[in-house]
Symmetry: C2
Subunit: 102 residues, 2 copies
C-alpha cells in the first residue's frame, strides 16, 4: 500500500495512527476498508447517475440525508450492510455490485 492510498484513507477519518500501526493494518483489515471506500464512491456515482439527491435516496432507504452523506464520505461509522442495501435500493443488481468488487 502506498502513500497515496494512505492519505486517501486517513483523510476519511480512519484512525490509522503511526506509520508502524499503519503497516500493521493487516491484509484483511486493509481489504475491508478499501472495499468500503470503493463502495462509497460507487454509491455516489450511481446515485448521481440516477439523478437523485441524498435526501431522495434517504427517503427510499428510510434513512436520513446525513447518513447518506456519511456513506458517500466513507465515514467509519457506516457499515457494509448499509452500503450494500443502498445499492439494492437504487436498483443495482448483484452483478453490478460484483463489478465494483472486481
Amino acid at each position: 500500500m502506498n502513500q497515496t492510498k494512505r492519505k486517501r484513507l486517513e483523510s476519511k477519518g480512519w484512525k490509522i495512527g503511526t506509520p508502524k500501526e499503519f503497516l500493521n493494518l493487516s491484509r484483511e483489515e486493509a481489504a475491508y476498508v478499501e472495499l468500503k471506500l470503493d463502495l462509497s464512491k460507487g454509491l455516489q456515482e450511481y446515485r448521481r447517475h440516477k439523478k437523485l439527491t441524498q435526501h431522495q435516496l434517504a427517503l427510499r432507504l428510510k434513512s436520513s440525508q446525513s447518513r447518506i452523506a456519511k456513506m458517500e464520505a466513507g465515514d467509519p461509522s457506516v457499515s457494509l450492510d448499509l452500503l450494500i442495501r443502498s445499492f439494492f435500493a437504487l436498483g443495482a443488481s448483484r452483478k453490478s455490485l460484483a463489478q465494483i468488487l472486481s
Copy 2:
C-alpha cells in the same frame, strides 16, 4: 421467488410471516437476504476446504465458535460486515468474493 426459496429462507429463521408479507419482501430486501445466505454457504465451503473447525476460525477472527455457527447458519443476527471480514480473514480475495456475487 418460488416455494423452494421461501422454505430455504424460512427454515433459517428469517421471520417472513404470511404469504402476503412474504410477497411484500421488496426486491431489495430479498436481494439482501439472499446475498447473505449465499455468503453464509460460501463461507462454510471455504472453511471446510481449508480444513478448519469453527473453533479454529473463531480464533483467527477473534470471534467465537457460536458466532461462526450462526454465520454459517445464515442467522439474521449476523451482519454482512462480519461475513465479509471473515472471508478476508480466510485469505479470500475480492475477486473470489465477486464470484460469489455473480
